[in-house]
């Protein structure tokens, strides 16, 4: 088996050549290691990239890995003049995306109930931007579509998985006192 230095070199080359995100299984296969070991190697390598004076970092996106430039260097990269400034979303779109991200899979009716407003247009926009997708049908009358977030959502918002979403605050859940019988 190769030394860890050699393995790290191979991984960097693979990620560079791949461009797209590379599933951990494929990396494991190429470096001839099991998935668990590969995951440990990747975590260590991600840390190294993050903390060295590197212009590129490794991102984990839904069980796959991808190289990208350090986001804070954006102003310099914009000077290349070749990269298009990405358009942000409207507050309504962020709001809808938040509801979907935290509750997926959800129906349009659920989203509209929380937002208090028709959400057809914004769902279309989010689907067009590949941030959400249909993930099935609900098992209720009318079999409404269910929406969930995409891998592109994770990439765009810097999450490695949906589990990384900031936790929901608990203080809004009403307290329930059970009637404890006294004897």
């Amino acid at each position: 088996m190769d030394s860890i230095q050699k393995i790290e070199m191979i991984i960097e080359a693979l990620l560079f050549a791949s461009g797209d995100s590379l599933p951990i299984e494929k990396i494991a296969e190429i470096i001839e290691n099991d998935k668990k070991t590969t995951k440990a190697i990747m975590s260590n390598l991600m840390y190294k990239f993050q903390n060295a004076s590197r212009g590129i970092i490794i991102r984990e996106i839904g069980g796959a890995y991808q190289l990208c430039t350090r986001p804070e260097l954006d102003e310099h990269i914009q000077q290349l003049g070749t990269v298009r400034k990405k358009q942000g979303l409207t507050p309504q779109a962020y709001e809808t995306l938040a509801i979907i991200a935290y509750n997926q899979p959800v129906t349009r009716a659920y989203i509209e109930q929380i937002r208090g407003v028709n959400s057809d247009g914004v769902l279309l926009t989010l689907t067009d931007r590949n941030l959400i997708q249909e993930v099935g049908r609900d098992n209720t009358p009318g079999k409404p579509k269910l929406y969930g977030t995409t891998e592109e959502f994770l990439r765009a918002f810097g999450f490695s998985s949906i589990k990384e979403l900031p936790p929901l605050e608990m203080n809004e859940i009403p307290e329930v006192y059970e009637n404890v019988p006294l004897d």
Binding site: F16, A17, E72, L73, D74, E172
Partner: protein, 257 residues
């Protein structure tokens, strides 16, 4: 009531996506405690906005109007205590449902801000196009199991064994058949009789030396020879010895065989 307030918020008007959005804005603007909304004050402000929208000839979505009526309904219930609350002494707060909905909405409003800031940050990350890597048809990787190999060996051997058993049984049958065929026995007897000697059946066929099948066939052969007139049998004592004597009249042997 076309006021400074109306003017200040004209630009903002179009940005309210829905009634919750507008209500939430009003609550945040005056730093109102969401758990104790002064319904009267909020309702007035809310209706002001709707009027401002009308003045600006903006289409007011039906959701805004539904919320307006909800607010007015809550306001009236607060002013006129219901029969139940008079009887029970304690009633459900008419604002409760609205508060729960607003709190739910607030939660996602806050998360949407988190998402927006993360989006802003990660928009700065740039990716790279994949290199062109030719597809390679790899030699198939064999997936083999030692136990499967063992099983195939056992199966092959069992099949072989079965076939061997089958073959030897068949051989035995053929050999037996050959030995005891009636035709062979007749020929054998005739050969002996041609020498002109009297045969003793028990000497020719006894179960100690020959198989039962052979003895039985021998007996049948004897009867056949007698029937065609080539020999005579004689049993002087019941259950005693049977003697076979050739007949002097010669007939064609082939006619019986």
């Amino acid at each position: 009531m076309k006021s400074a307030l109306t003017d200040a918020c004209t630009l903002k008007l179009e940005n309210f996506e829905g009634p919750f959005d507008l209500l939430f804005y009003l609550i945040e603007k005056d730093k109102i405690d969401i758990y104790d909304i002064p319904i009267s004050q909020i309702t007035d402000q809310y209706l002001d906005y709707l009027r401002a929208m009308q003045e600006l000839d903006l289409d007011i979505a039906s959701e805004f109007l539904v919320m307006a009526s909800t607010l007015l309904h809550i306001k009236s219930r607060l002013l006129l205590p219901s029969k139940e609350s008079l009887l029970e002494g304690e009633a459900e707060d008419p604002r409760e449902e609205l508060i729960i909905k607003l709190l739910e909405y607030k939660k996602y409003k806050e998360y949407s801000r988190v998402l927006a800031s993360r989006d802003e940050k990660w928009k700065g990350a740039h990716y790279k196009l994949p290199e062109i890597i030719p597809d390679i048809i790899a030699p198939d990787e064999l997936e083999l199991s030692p136990l499967t190999l063992r099983d195939y060996m056992a199966d092959a051997l069992k099949r072989y064994k079965d076939k061997q058993d089958d073959v030897s049984k068949r051989m035995a049958r053929i050999l037996d058949h050959e030995k005891v065929s009636l035709r062979a026995k007749i020929k054998e007897l005739l050969t002996s009789l041609k020498k002109g000697v009297k045969l003793c059946f028990s000497k020719c066929y006894n179960t100690k030396e020959k198989s039962r099948l052979e003895v039985a066939t021998g007996f049948l052969a004897t009867l056949e020879i007698v029937r065609v007139g080539k020999a005579e049998i004689d049993q002087p004592v019941a259950f005693g010895e049977i003697y076979i004597t050739p007949k002097s009249v010669q007939k064609d042997i082939d006619s019986v065989t």
